[in-house]
Assembly symmetry: C2
Homo-oligomer: 461 residues x 2
Amino acid sequence: MPQPEPLLLNGFMMTVPGHVSPGLWRHPNDRSDRYNRLDYWLGIARLLERAGFDAMFIADTLGQLDVYEGRADASLRTAAQAPLNDPLLAISAMAAVTEHLGFGVTVSTTYEYPYLLARKFTTLDHLTSGRVAWNIVTTLLESAARNLGLDRQVDHDERYDQAQEFVEVAYKLWEGSWEDGAALRDRGTGVFTDPAKVHPIDHAGTYYRVPGPHLCEPSPQRTPVLFQAGTSPRGQAFAARNAEVVFLMGADAAAIRRDVRAIKELARSFGRSEGAIKFVTSVSVVTAASDDEARAKHDEYRRYLDPDAAFALFSAFTGVDWSAYDRDTELEYIETNASRSLLTSLAGIDGGRRWKVGDIPEFMGLGSGGQTVVGGPRRAADRLEQLAEEAEVDGFNLAYVISPGTFEDFIAHVLPELRRRGRVRTSPPVGTLRERIFPGVGPLLPADHPASEFRLAAVAP
Amino acid sequence: MPQPEPLLLNGFMMTVPGHVSPGLWRHPNDRSDRYNRLDYWLGIARLLERAGFDAMFIADTLGQLDVYEGRADASLRTAAQAPLNDPLLAISAMAAVTEHLGFGVTVSTTYEYPYLLARKFTTLDHLTSGRVAWNIVTTLLESAARNLGLDRQVDHDERYDQAQEFVEVAYKLWEGSWEDGAALRDRGTGVFTDPAKVHPIDHAGTYYRVPGPHLCEPSPQRTPVLFQAGTSPRGQAFAARNAEVVFLMGADAAAIRRDVRAIKELARSFGRSEGAIKFVTSVSVVTAASDDEARAKHDEYRRYLDPDAAFALFSAFTGVDWSAYDRDTELEYIETNASRSLLTSLAGIDGGRRWKVGDIPEFMGLGSGGQTVVGGPRRAADRLEQLAEEAEVDGFNLAYVISPGTFEDFIAHVLPELRRRGRVRTSPPVGTLRERIFPGVGPLLPADHPASEFRLAAVAP
């Protein structure tokens, strides 16, 4: 029998109190209300590092959750991803207290300049010694668009056209501007950088004009590890073309598997090799020393669920103000574009149960519609292995119910069991985040990635 | 006799190898080529903190220095502010290893969204417990404009109009959106944030439309301490209106004093109180145990000066390609707009000496045209006190010749002498950076600052 692969494990965070567990900030053991404090972040980074997690995945959005009831009141009151800090700024502090943990951080292409975003990620990749990933998103929220000077959201498909050009500009800056060894630091000859090895990128496209060259010398990974999370048809094509790790959220393993297969098929059509993309899904693990204790803990957690928080989150995710509907309305009868993938996911769970608007808090549960696993060490490990197999994913974004308690419980109870089963990497990590996720490939993007088209001949992959 | 005031002391840095000392990266003791490494920054932060510096002032620009010879070759070769990393990203790491040091970081208004910039500074102010300052600039470099999608630089005066509206949007978000106590964190009632205490700012102006409210809860200082460095007439008016600390660079103390007085006069006309603005100038201190050793060190440092680096820097500062002029051309006969203040500064030094294009490296010297002080403990302290008096500044941005050696030398030799003279704060610092710079005023902007116009009635100053 082949040795099972170690599971990819990311701690799923956001620079907010209360991330995907609606209302759980009220739990007496939750510390996510300390999201403003550096020591909160340092503590979680140290915890994940010691336990051997691969990375911390940091979500972001750029606006208030104000779809529900047409205002942000419910979101503010229930700490549904509000208040919201900048996700990039604590990373260097966390890098300073860790050696191996990666940091996957969400930045939208819609409101950044590629020339400056490239500098941000190169800087972070230098400061972390090659431990940074970019979760590429195209912003969803109308409220972001309004506060950033647009009357309304840029059209969905056009956002992806723009995002594709954006990443190509970034690829050119990261891969096609500075040759290896351009920064000589030669005190003797007085040449810090050899100008002959620094090339303008001369990008002139539909959305961006960037002559370049890149402001920074190449970082250990040059291009950060590329994460992506879109599941719309255009999002899937974008992921299949560009992503190295795809994050698929959903309560229905079969729906996730369909997306995994579709993206893999598309990736093949783009000439990318088998295994070029790893897949993760979101899971909330409620665990304890025994199944009974885990179930009791789950029951206790559920008492802190806040329906208003669930509605605020679900309305923001779907772009639909669910307060406008009667609670008895069946969800499948509501036509919306943005919510298609979530509704597909809904349809697949509980064997054809007819979900109503009033059931949204129940559907959202402790993980906002992601997978939930409840059990002692063996049951939880069984369920995670089964889920990886059914959904055909390579690992998980572990969402917390309470922070950092959920991570502490997982580390105490489930991780030893997964280690026993060979599902946790045992060799000490070496090198960059990319080498950790794709052992043996080296720190740079592989030759079958589209960014390599922009790579200078003089750069060794 | 009144007790002399402690001098304001900032370490003057930039996320580059080689900042304002042209070519000195080649010195065997210079470590600025490690600007990419987190431990380099942590070391300097610890050093400045232990010595009682008030803040680290981090410069930035958004492009290559490609005015000289119409290309960036000289800048790249001589490490004249190239390569260039992002200045915001190492701050949280430095904050994690310090308790009192402030961080003044340069961000241009020209290429940021006020809605997102406000989130960045609030986040940093939270993570540093109120130790952050924003050095407000309007970008100067043509090369930045080209890479950020503009055909050419926005007109100078219009940049300041836009900057004024930019800061007003930021003031509204920081001061006029969240009431004190809006974030209740009340687990009992389930109210994290009271929505009635979070207000939209409804900004609709010439350049920006931001309904708001701010995404973040208020940080210790709400508005970061406001630094500014402009010396053009429009820059002076902007500083007089908005700045709390103004940075004036120049080799001529009398010219600096004229600017200080002009800005103070303007500030009065805007209704700001006496002492509302502190002034600092750039100084490079070359020191050792004795005057002779300091002079010898200065001679040795000067052997590492690189004329090409000086030309690359001076051309970028002035916007003039000095390679196009004969080296015998006298500087005062060249008419340029951008370089006016530097040429005024030139005219004031060495008693009417006629500076030629070929003298630019000599003028730039070890501090790129800022003040230079050479001497043992007493002479250096004398000179600094005299300079503060002549230029009527409250303190200094200490520029390094070599890093961190220049800071180490200053701390070993000059600081004890300044302390003996009562020119260094002796009481342990408490509270925020603003309280450190303006003892006794509290963490928030004072009532005579224009931002207070946007302050909610419910916010206590």
